[in-house]
Amino acid sequence: MLSGLQLENVGVSFETTRALEDVNLHLAQGEAVALVGLSGAGKTTLLHTCNAMVSPSTGRVLINGQDLSKLSAKALKIARMNIGFIHQDLSLVPNLRVIQNVVSGRLGRRSLFGGARDLLFPADDVTERVYDILTSVGIAEKIYERTDHLSGGQQQRVAIARALFQEPQFLLADEPISSVDPVRAEATIALLKTLCAERNITLLMSLHNLKLATTFFPRLVALRDGRIVFDKATDTVLPAELEAIFDLTESSPVSEEVSDFEDRLGGRFG
């Protein structure tokens, strides 16, 4: 029984395509790992499998030794409270204030009444905590602004704040810098890494910018056509290997379908 996040022989298929095949991965507590590959390589699918938003057709996913597919709905909910997710499209509620979006990260741990309280009349200590987290991501003064009045980069940081407010053990980030300009991108990744290191959170981030991945992450996992091509320490990766994952001349037609599937990934709400 290993602690941390583990994928054992995970395969995911939908309709007639295999999005993931034979994936074996282990992340120890506190590690920071970058997931690289082309769009359609299966990065989003892999991340969504880690918190059981997508069920693997073969293999299993283990969080701290618990097989996610074997959990009851209630236990799964509790497991998910421990896993933070930053989506590619942010998934914030546009007409709520920033503070309200941030507190929604912890809804799982609150009752119905508690959630209402947090959203409408937050207690002082809750407000203080939100303010502190927003300070650490650099947008403290926007705490009461409407979320859709912020720029893309600022909304990105709200999404990060929400994930941190959840106080998870694991943080999954799906291309968190896609809506951020290049100058900010570096700062955002550095920020995420620091915050996760401070709190000993296991971080798994998918990126398709290789330079950022190699700069900030000590370990790289490369995906291509749903399979792991390599999984090793960054400083042992050869340039030729990096080129191989991104070699476009050999990309199979599978990638497009997987991209469509990943665009449509959804949970139980349709």
């Binding site: 204030r97 003064e141 705490i143 009461y144 602004e145 409407r146």
Partner: protein, 303 residues
Amino acid sequence: MNEKTLPELYRARPRNLVVRGSLTAMLILIAGIWLSGEFLDPQAFTDQRQENIARFLNELRPYPLQSTTFDASVALTWAHSIMQEKGWDALRITLAISFAAITLAGIFGGLLALPAARNLTRAEPFVINRTSRNRMTDLMWSTLVGATRLLLIFLRAIPEYVWAFLLLALLGPTAWPAVLALALHNTGIFGKLAAEVIEDLPAGPLRSQTGMGASRLQVAAFTILPLTLPRLLLFFFYRWETCVREATVLGMLGIVSLGFWIQDARARNFYDEMFFLILLGALIVLLGEVISTWARWYVRRAS
């Protein structure tokens, strides 16, 4: 850097006062009216009332069946005779009223939308940085827009039923009062919406036509009409559906649509017939909705 503390940020937070105020006002109004007990009728649930209600419900059943057990064929014959006498005619008249009214409203509403559209009704439409600014002519154009808009609001604000009532007394018992009443009211609605659609049009194509020397009317016919037609058609069919609904009811004033026979049955205490005709009215409204939904789907496909 202007560092604000948390309480200061809270006080400075953006608030939508108009929305919040209106919401609160409405809720207080509604709660206040209910709590004042005006509408709470203590007699609503007495035993006597319940007996009356039970008796009434019994009377809703078809007359030939009221004292015997249910027999499908008897019910059908009864229904059939009502339809023969008045049902089919009433349906035809109701539908005809709705078609005539909405067509008139479409035409006149569309025409009135032109002087009501601010980007069209001005001294030099679509021109950027006008050179000559004559106060008088500007005022005249604004008055035209304002007057048209006022007329449209007035047509819209008066309910169809009130129009029909007035027109019936003034024009006599033909089908015109019903048709005109619906047409007037819907002209107001349609005109306002069409004006808004015209105002939302991108200035580009309109400007290029004007630049080539087209008059306002020519621009309207050749550019505005094709550009706005899909949206207007969608709204046209949506309003037609509402016209069907209102046309059934206008009969209660005396024009021989469905509503007339409903009122007639009530006056004669034939509650079973009244109930049957009410359900028939519901049916035709539903039919109207189905046709309207299909028509709008067709328009979307054609765009």
